[in-house]
Amino acid sequence: MMWKEKYKIGVELIDQQHEELFRRVSDFIGTVRSENPWDTKLSKIKETLEFMNDYVITHFRDEEEYQAKINYPGLEKHKKIHDDFKAEVVEFVRLFEETGFDEDLVQRFSGKLLAWLINHVAGIDQKIGEFARKQEVPHHES
């Protein structure tokens, strides 16, 4: 999973978090897709998943705070996208625990996460940057 400069929205904090998310998700998928036996990968998968869960929540919160600060008109809609995604992750984690981290389920989660994150950062989040530029909001977060 490659981070691209064009994904930057011009808000330093958000761009750093996006880049970190790409790195973490990429690592996670690399582990999930590696050919090592499932049992040997499980501890790393659990550890990365836990970190990502916390990181995603922090990132969504920071991104929503920034949107509120610039009076971004799409905030409510954007917040709903975040909330829906968080709810899906919670449901996956519940199923992981219920099934003892079933490999097929983790593979499906990873595939979805890959496509979801790219669309969210390369598509949906770009509109925040476009709006901020139009408003001439300072691009450096304090």
Binding site: M1, I29, F109, G111, L114, A115, N119, G123
Partner: protein, 149 residues
């Protein structure tokens, strides 16, 4: 079926391929309703002012290349990871198409995508949208009916 409904899906697919994959898309002139038999067929249903089913048919090579572009990893078989990534792309395209449809005062909800082995595509009821992309063909079979109020 109105052309603007089909075009809403075309525009959404074109945008998503460009934004997510950096892949150009145009309409193809090969019209056949046959679905792929070595690749992935994913359906999504619409409810609301328009009711119906959209079938996305990805040949194996196209499907593998799409996920390779996103992940940066070599892919050789259509496993649950790949099918799930493709399903999410279908979900995103149809969600965006639903937004386009609002311009024509059509409010629709979409159901979660489903991977199907042999989707039924009734040629007489379906509108075919064959796409030619830089990484191979993708076919959309669009079956929609307007709900009269």
């Amino acid at each position: 079926m109105k052309a603007e409904y089909v075009n809403s899906f075309y525009q959404a697919a074109q945008d998503v391929f460009k934004i997510m994959l950096d892949v150009g898309t145009q309409k193809d002139d090969v019209f056949t309703h046959e679905i792929t038999d070595d690749g992935a067929n994913i359906t999504i249903k619409l409810k609301g002012d328009l009711t119906g089913t959209i079938v996305f048919s990805f040949p194996k090579e196209t499907a593998l290349e799409m996920v390779k572009i996103m992940s940066g990893m070599e892919m050789d078989k259509l496993d649950s990871f790949i099918l799930s990534a493709l399903s999410e792309i279908v979900n995103i395209i149809c969600g965006n198409a639903a937004t386009h449809l609002q311009k024509y005062n059509k409010s629709v909800d979409i159901t979660p995508p489903e991977v199907v082995e042999k989707p039924s595509t009734e040629a007489d009821k379906c509108e075919l949208l064959p796409l030619k992309t830089d990484i191979g063909a993708v076919k959309l079979n669009i079956q929609l009916e307007e709900n009269q109020e």
